[in-house]
């Protein structure tokens, strides 16, 4: 079993990296660009998701009771029937008093709007908010059941967001497909770039490789420096791409905050909340593309 000096192998790798000079620099820059654009797509998708999901809780059905007040027993019985329905995850009861209070809190800046209402003339109803899980068909079946007057005569209205949820789901999927495809293309380009860089590095050292083969070098010994060089390229590209994300994201975050003010129409996740995802993402993507690219190139161009 041959025992190679780790420091010797590493020094060979870094010598190779510096010897390739402009070629190494070019691959770092191209890989950085691909990582940066991929990262941008990733961040856009993430923020779109956050915004789309925050529009509403879409797997909710709101059931409003009749205006005639129900007794506590009737309410309990209704609750028990609801929780037993298939695909129901939770049932939340809101009394008409709570509903009035909630509205008062919501319109605290304009108290005069709700001042005239009290316990006697409360215009709200008891509400059951049901969250569910399952397929679209499950949701439709559940709705059908809730809207059945024979089963639930206590409800005057049942409101769902199924259509909105479906539209948003389709929108999210479309966005994911478009951006995902772009990302895949960029990853493919990165892999090809690394493959070419490694191939060029191999070509520039073909004589050295041939001598090593004649002497009895293992494929691993010959390939190791190229792999380390490639991963080092990936590391530098990942660090630069991360810094670019940090700068541009914070700049755009500031710009959007200044323009949308406190309205909160567009919600942008602060970079401080996601920096580790970005760091890990670019690093993993970079290492993966470098590993795959160099592995393909090495197995193709280095023969033992």
């Amino acid at each position: 079993m041959r025992k190679y000096s780790f420091s010797y192998l590493m020094s060979r790798s870094f010598k190779g990296f510096s010897r390739n000079g402009l070629m190494s620099l070019a691959s770092v820059l191209i890989l950085t660009s691909c990582l940066f654009i991929s990262g941008c797509f990733g961040l856009i998708i993430y923020n779109l998701y956050i915004n789309l999901n925050s529009l509403n809780e879409l797997n909710e059905i709101v059931c409003m009771c009749n205006y005639e007040k129900l007794s506590d027993e009737e309410l309990d019985s209704l609750y028990n029937r609801l929780v037993k329905l298939p695909h129901v995850d939770s049932v939340k009861f809101t009394s008409r008093e709570e509903a009035l209070e909630n509205m008062r809190e919501k319109y605290a800046q304009h108290p005069q709007v709700l001042d005239r209402f009290n316990e006697e003339n409360n215009p709200f109803f008891e509400i059951y908010t049901i969250t569910y899980s399952g397929t679209d068909q499950d949701a439709v079946n559940l709705l059908f059941e809730l809207k059945n007057k024979k089963e639930f005569p206590e409800f005057r209205a049942v409101e769902d967001k199924l259509e909105t949820a479906n539209t948003l789901e389709k929108l999210k999927n479309t966005i994911l497909w478009i951006f995902g495809s772009f990302m895949l293309v960029l990853i493919f380009i990165s892999v090809v770039i690394i493959m070419n860089t490694v191939r060029m590095a191999i070509n520039s050292r073909s004589e050295e490789i041939e001598i090593m083969r004649y002497i009895g070098a293992t494929g691993w010994f010959i390939s190791f420096p190229f792999m380390v060089e490639s991963l080092f390229t990936g590391l530098i590209a990942a660090v630069i791409a991360f810094l670019l994300h940090l700068i541009t994201y914070n700049y755009l975050f500031g710009l959007l905050a200044a323009n949308t003010g406190a309205s909160g129409i567009i919600k942008i996740v602060p970079f401080s909340d996601i920096w580790y995802f970005v760091a890990l993402g670019v690093l993993a993507l970079s290492f993966l593309t470098c590993y795959i690219g160099s592995k393909i190139s090495l197995s193709k161009h280095i023969k033992v």
């Binding site: 190679y4 000096s5 050295e208 002497i215 293992t218």
Partner: protein, 235 residues
């Protein structure tokens, strides 16, 4: 021991859509410790033979067994181990211009994973044996052709190979230097512990070594083998 049995090597020329036969039905047995000159003009098949011996190429047919390794069936992972038993001396030396003489020789040991301690002990010994210790810290371009050849030889010998193959070792040297290098190569096999194969087209030079075996190639075939002179005594 090296044994070629009906070895044929052909190459496919995709451009011309033809097959070129580089070696044709070669039968050759070389015992351990022999010094053999492999001679022939360009295209005779000498280099193909060298590439087969170093397992850079695989015979198209026949069998080639070297020191117990069947080179047609050898597993890929065992090829480096096999090659480490062969020292290769190239026609154009193939020295690294950015490495000193010492580093060029040490490189061969590093490739085989030898320790720094072993390198520090062995390299000076080999350099001294080949009389180039004084040039240890010089770069290849700073030394003469003969010294470059000695450096290349030192690199080939530093791992103490069982077989030494010298491919046209005098091609780039002056006549006086050629004789000196050839004497050195022949002497390396004289103790009988190492097989030395010297590939050359300089028939005049090898006439100085009358007691050594000469195998002559022509168009991929052996036309003369002094050990079995009857094979091609007319050659």
């Amino acid at each position: 021991m090296i044994e070629f049995r009906h070895v044929t090597k052909t190459y496919r020329s995709a451009a011309r859509d033809t097959t070129v036969t580089a070696l044709n039905d070669i039968n050759l047995k070389i015992d351990d410790g022999e010094v053999v000159f492999l001679v022939g003009s360009n295209g005779a098949g000498k280099t193909t033979l060298m590439r087969l011996l170093t397992r850079m190429e695989v015979p198209t047919s026949g069998s080639l067994v070297v020191n117990g390794y069947d080179l047609r069936r050898i597993k890929k992972r065992r090829i480096p181990e096999y090659r480490s038993q062969i020292g290769m001396d190239f026609q154009d030396f193939k020295l690294f211009s950015k490495y000193t003489v010492y580093e060029n020789v040490a490189f061969a040991m590093r490739v085989l994973g030898k320790s720094s301690k072993a390198i520090k002990t062995t390299v000076p010994l080999v350099l001294s044996m080949l009389d180039i210790s004084a040039r240890a810290n010089h770069f290849p371009l700073e030394i003469s052709g003969g010294e470059q050849q000695r450096t290349a030889l030192a690199r080939a010998l530093v791992n103490n190979p069982k077989i030494l193959i010298a491919d046209e070792p005098t091609a780039n040297l002056s006549p006086s230097m050629s004789r000196e290098v050839m004497d050195l190569l022949v002497s390396l096999g004289d103790n009988g512990k190492r097989t030395v194969l010297i590939i050359t087209h300089d028939v005049k030079l090898i006439s100085n070594y009358e007691n050594k075996r000469v195998v002559k190639f022509e168009r991929g075939r052996i036309v003369y083998d002094s050990k079995h002179a009857e094979v091609g005594a007319d050659a």
